[in-house]
Every structure is written in structure tokens, then in C-alpha cells.
Amino acid sequence: MSRRRRWPAAGALSHRSIVAAAAWLLAAACGGGEPRSAVEQAAAAGGTLRIPLINDPIFDPVIAPDLGSILPNKLIFPGLVRPDEALRPTPDLAESWTISDDGLHATFTLRPGVLWHDGAPFSAEDVKFTFDAILDLASGSRLRSDFAAVQRVVIEDSLTVRFDFHAPFAPFLTLLGYNAGILPKHLLQGAPLTEATDFNRRKPVGTGPFMVTEVAPGASVTLVRNPHYYGSVPKLDRVVFKVVPDLNAQVAQLRAGELDLVTLEPANLASVQGVPGVEVLQVPVVQHFYVGLNVRRPAFRSPDVRRALGMAINRPAIIDGVLRGYADLPRGTIPVVLKDYFADALPPIPYAPDSSLVLLARAGWRRGADGRLRDAAGAPFAFELLLDKGNPTREQSALAVQQDLGRIGVTVTLRTMEFAALVRDRVLPGTFDATLIWWTTPPDPDQFAFYHTGQDNNNVGWSNPVADSLLALGRATLDVPRRQAIYRAFQRLEMEDPPVMVLFYPREIQAVTSRLVGFPSLGIRDALRHSERFALRTK
């Protein structure tokens, strides 16, 4: 089974990504270590791959609000590009592209001869229609902020489309390969996307390797191989998404042989390890989990205080104990999986409670006789840490943070809330002391929206003029080496003035049937963009 990238347990970090990438390349070069005949057999066998969803999907990548919709949409609606195993954009519906020297225009040559699932030809009209809808506030689009830099989309001919930008926008290609699936103009024009309920809920039409044949509300979505798919012929006959809202039930169904691919929380690991026919894989994903300290609060204004609190948290203990090693030690807010941009020359944030106390003393917090930190006026250092209810990983991480900070005399009160209430009532209005939360981002280092002064998504209210200019420059710089230098500088700055206390970069834990081959070593969202390669070996 050398074909699969297996990550070592948490420990030494340096160069892991390079080693893993090399292992992947080697495995790929060796034909995946599989006997040739097994792969051919799988291709001939077809078969059905069954994947759980937690809710009924909305088949429209532009308005889809949740993961339950995003996953099937990846198979039905390809975008102009798709991410390869290194998360770099590669051609998909677009064959090639050029970007003008000033970075203000991107011209895409579309793949000829592509057909929609209903047989209509795909063209530049569809691309323009999709992006016009994405940019239209009234369409119900949830991708608008991703593409706010796009000024207009121009059709040059039926297979050539040009994007004009307000300003150069480096994350553009990555975003094209993320959630921006292309929609059919001939079926959707003339009404808001949210009103096309027959399309959205029952009969979606895309250009992808699989097409929807049956939707059983609340139960399942069945997709069959698209015989006219423009890429290599899909190997599976069918992909079935089963709606299984409960994670324990998903694990039980995997063990009973009724599901083939389940993503897990570390707490569920024990129930799949050692189960015959089930393999546990892990891939780093583009997420950073953090404790966001509200910088608007006087206690958190000083960078030294935020740095000090960060040094009082025993991250390796959280990663080993709570995440069972399925996470990586953080530096700044750019996760390790973005290997071109992750600053692995920076040392990890040390666990140093003593130095933390020195820094805090410099900021005016001294330990009293009772062991608690107090300011000059005698007020204790205490705050409330909010987190969403029901996720054991985050609840245990929050407990660990509470204990670690308690050891240096900071009193942390935990409070769990429903996620929607947490976000809408506390995080967005900025009425919180601290919150344990996370960002899932496209595979690009651009974090302008999260950490630039005054942005809607800068929930902690962090503001650093140097960071502002770096973040603005980073998204406008197309040259990769220069961009790397910019984001390395940003991460160095984050060590001195942390916008948030990053706890870990999680890895996605995938429990899959050992019969599955051709599944790329990517998070499930991106892996599903390569579904035509999946195959099931016969037993």
C-alpha cells in the first residue's frame, strides 16, 4: 500500500511536507505500487462508491450554503481549473490561460466539445453567466466576496473568455478551482438561482464525470457515470451520497459495509482502527484552528500579552492528547499544507510558561499571593472563552487552553453555544472576549479578508499597519517568489504581534474501504474533483 501518503504521527516537523511530496511522486512513478492487473480489474468492475452527507444537498455551487451540498457539487459541476495533489491549479474546463503583464486581465481558452449532461454544448456563454451570477448580490450567490476583484467577464469567442479585474488578484486561479463550478446558462437564465428549485433539488445539469439520476429526499443522491465526460472515462459506475447526519451512525455504517468513505473526528478513531477492510488515511487541510482574542478589549490590546498567552499553551499536548496526533504544530495563520508559502524556517511557538509570565509582568500583570494575575489596580486577569457546542475535539481543546492559562494565573470561563448563535450573536458583532474557532480557506495564502484592518471577516479587530500593507501586496503580487517573501514576512510579523492564538493545523482523517484506489491524497473536498479516477477493486 505504498501508493498512499501516510503521514508520520505528530513530532518532528521540518521538511515533512517535502518528504511526503517526494513519497507521493515516487509512488505515482511506480504505478502506485499496485499490480497493474488489479487496477485494470477495478476499471472493468465499475461498482458503486458510497459517501455520507450530513444534509440534503442543494445542487448549485454558487448558492450552496453547506458541506452537504459542496461535496456532490464537486462531481457534477467542474470549474475552469482544478487543484492537483500539490493544490496547484491545473486545467479542467479551461485548456489554458494567459494573464496579462499588468495582472488586470486573464484570458481562458475553453476545452472544445464539452457537453452538458443534457447534451447541450458548453461554451463561454456559460462561464460568463456563472460569474455574472456570482457577482450579483440578488442571485443568492455565496461566492461573491471570493471574486469581488473581478470587474467583468467578456466573451471573446465561443471558446475564449476574458476576466477583467479592478486590481491584480493573485488568488484568482486557486479560487477558480475551489468552489466556482460552472452553471448551464441555457437552463438557469432569467430567474434568480435560488428559485430554480427543480434544478437545485432534483435535476441538476453539469459537465462533470457523474450525473444525478435519482434524489431520495432525506435519504440519498445517486449519480451515474457520464458517458460523454470530456476527461478520461470515469471508472466507477455510480457514486451514491447517503444522508447520514450522525457521525456515530456513519462509522457504524462504514463498519457494516454500507459506506465506503467517511471523514472522522479524532474521537471516532478507535472505532475504525483495526477494522478489516477499512484503511485510515490522513491529509493536512487548509484550516487553522485558533483562539481569537478580541483585540478591542483593553486586556488584549498589547501584542506582548497575546504573545505571552500563546506561549502559555501547551500545543504539543493538545495535538497528542486531543487530536491523537492528527494535526500539525502551528507557526502563524498560514497552514503547513500551503508548502510554497508556509514559513517552515520559523521555529514553532514555544511552550514557555515562565517566559510568558515575564512578558505579562512587562505588560503590567503580576502574580498575587493567590497565584492569580492582577493588573496595577488589583483586577484579576479573567476572560470568557466561547466555543460551539457538541464537537468533542474543540471542547477538549478549550478545556486544555483553560487549564494551561489557569496555570499562569489567568482565569478562563468556558461557554458553549450553538455555532450559529456563536457566530451571529457574538463573533460578528464583536461582543466576545475570546472564541475558539477556525477558518477553512481556499488553498492560497491570501488572508486579507481575515486579518486586514477593517475587513468584514476580521472578527478579532486586529490591526497592524505593516501587516495591512503585506496582505494588500500579497494578493496583488502574481510573481510566486516575491509572493513567498511577502507571506514569510507576514508570518514573521505574526510571531511578534499574533492576530490570533493558532492552536493547530488539523489533518483530515479519512476512513475508507481498502478496495478504493485512485483516491488522491487531498482533503475530501478537493479529492472529489478527481472522481473520474476513483475505482473499486474487486474483493
Binding site: S141, A216, A219, R238, L422
Partner: protein, 316 residues
């Protein structure tokens, strides 16, 4: 009788209006608001556009007025989550819930009443003690735990029943297949109800058996079978019918946990999803439907009383 029916209908409408008003108030007061807006990545402008599209940017009284006006025309609005009409979203799921609830109720009555009648005749016997212990267990154990245990035992280890869903996806949609999927959720859903009904029926039957008319019937020479069913059990059934009536709404509304554990595509799960996502139209639609169900059940219970006990018939 017509007057009685009309009065009941009037009461029912009033109850529905109160239920709707209170529910509307509660769901709008619940923290968080629609999950569509909870995506932290949306910009302020995106959020405003969504609020406008869903009509939740208006004052709550205006929203309630519009909801009532639409209801009067038989329109429950569009679900926020599913973006389809609330009525059709519920109707897609209702048959599955009725199937599961019907099977569970059937099981409950078919097991609880005969076993209780038997136990009431031999209180303290082996079966009585065994049934009593099982009933206590069934009432005490949480449904999700029992469900997961049943899945582990019958699907994961024994491989004799499916772990979830209502039918094999893409497989043969035969009656046998549907029944195989129905067994575990129906058993788990019926467990607590059966235990409860068993205990009520047993207590009620014991009480009736001690009453003078039973002795009289026996003295008249009525065979023991007739004494048990026509005299004692018929009277014992009056409180039992109440308990069954109370089970009906619980079977429909309370099936949510069973439906979640067994991935059963029913309405209870839809209700939980709607509540968690603050899908106002869907919550209101489901509440309305369940309320109608409760009222209907209590009306049927009243009719059953009348059928069982002539003394309760309204006088002309």
C-alpha cells in the same frame, strides 16, 4: 353530536392559533437566527442581501402577519434550507415518518396489551417479573444509545439487518428490503412506548380485576376468556387509550432521535434540522402539522372513550 363536533373544531382552531403564535415568537427569539447567515465568511452586504431575500429584515409582527396571511391561502412559504415549498418538503418526508410511527405503534399495542393482560392475571409470576424488569430497562435507556447498540449488534457484528436508511440505494426496492430497513428503527422507537403502555395496562387491568362486576360476571358463569377480555380488559382499556393517544404525537415528533441514528428520511429529523438551522418556515410548517396531529389524536381518543364506555356518550 354535531354541536359537540363543531365545538371541538372551534377549540382546535384556537389551540392551533395559540401554538403558532407562541412557536413563531420562540423561534424568532432563539439566539443565532437562520444558519444561512451563520457563515462567518459572508460580507456585511452579502448578509443584508440574504436577509432581504428571506424577508427577515422586516419587524417580527409584519413577518407574522405575512405568514398568517399566506397560511390562510394554504401557502406555508419556502424553506430557507431547501429553498423549496415547505409543504412539499414536509410531504416528501411524511410517508416515511407515518410508516415508522405506524409500525412502532402497531408493535407497541400488539406486544404491550396482551402481555399486560397475561401479567395482570398472574402478578408476581415469572413472566410478570421478567416483563417488569425489561420495561424498566426500556424506559430508562436513552433512545440513541439503544439505537447504536442495536446497529452494532445486528448490522456491524451479525450482519443480518442494515445499519440505516429506509431502503437499499439503487438496489431492489422490494417490500422485503423496506421491511428489513424498518425492523431496527421500529423496534427501537417502540421500546419505550411499549414499556410505558405495558405498565399502564397492567396496572389498569389489575385494578379492574378486583372490581365487583368482574366477580359478578364470573358468578354468572361467564367463561374466563370472556371475563378477561369483555369485562375486565374493556374497562381497563379506557386509561390505556389515553396513553396510546399520548403516544401518537410522540411517535411523530419524538422519532427525531431514532430517525437520526438510523438515517431514516423522516419528518422528525427534518424538524431537528429545521430547528438547528432556524429555518423559520419549515419549523412553523412542521409544528403546525404535528399540532394538527395531536389534536386529531386527542379527538380520536375522545371518540374511542365513547365507543368503549356508553356512560360517556353525549346526551341528545
Amino acid at each position: 353530536m354535531a354541536g359537540f363536533l363543531l365545538r371541538r373544531l372551534g377549540h382546535a382552531l384556537l389551540v392551533l392559533l395559540v401554538v403558532c403564535t407562541v412557536t413563531f415568537g420562540i423561534v424568532h427569539a432563539a439566539p443565532g437566527g437562520p444558519s444561512l447567515l451563520a457563515d462567518p465568511k459572508l460580507s456585511i452586504a452579502d448578509r443584508a442581501a440574504i436577509e432581504q431575500r428571506l424577508g427577515i429584515d422586516r419587524p417580527i409582527l409584519v413577518q407574522y402577519g405575512r405568514w398568517l396571511a399566506r397560511l390562510a391561502r394554504g401557502d406555508l412559504g419556502n424553506s430557507f434550507l431547501y429553498q423549496t415549498s415547505t409543504v412539499s418538503t414536509i410531504m416528501e418526508r411524511l410517508p416515511n415518518t407515518l410508516l415508522l410511527a405506524g409500525a412502532a405503534l402497531l408493535l407497541t399495542v400488539a406486544v404491550a396489551v396482551p402481555v399486560a393482560a397475561w401479567c395482570a392475571e398472574r402478578p408476581g409470576g415469572l413472566l410478570d417479573r421478567l416483563a417488569g424488569a425489561l420495561a424498566l430497562g426500556a424506559i430508562s435507556v436513552p433512545v440513541f444509545w439503544l439505537g447504536i447498540l442495536a446497529i452494532l449488534a445486528f448490522a456491524v457484528y451479525a450482519h443480518i439487518l442494515p445499519a440505516g436508511g429506509a431502503s437499499d440505494v439503487g438496489g431492489s426496492d422490494s417490500i422485503v428490503d423496506r421491511l428489513r430497513h424498518l425492523v431496527l428503527p421500529a423496534l427501537v422507537l417502540a421500546a419505550a412506548g411499549t414499556a410505558e403502555l405495558f405498565r399502564y395496562t397492567r396496572a389498569s387491568a389489575l385494578a379492574q380485576r378486583a372490581r365487583p362486576f368482574v366477580r359478578t360476571a364470573r358468578a354468572k358463569g361467564v367463561p374466563e376468556r370472556g371475563v378477561r377480555w369483555r369485562h375486565a380488559m374493556r374497562n381497563a382499556c379506557i386509561p390505556v387509550v389515553t396513553v396510546i393517544g399520548l403516544q401518537l404525537p410522540r411517535l411523530v415528533g419524538g422519532a427525531a432521535i431514532t430517525e437520526t441514528v438510523f438515517s431514516w428520511p423522516g419528518m422528525g429529523r427534518l424538524g431537528i434540522e429545521a430547528a438547528l438551522a432556524r429555518d423559520y418556515p419549515l419549523i412553523m410548517g412542521i409544528t403546525l402539522l404535528v399540532s394538527v396531529g395531536v389534536l386529531l389524536a386527542s379527538f380520536l381518543v375522545d371518540l374511542a372513550y365513547v365507543a368503549l364506555d356508553p356512560r360517556l356518550r353525549p346526551r341528545a
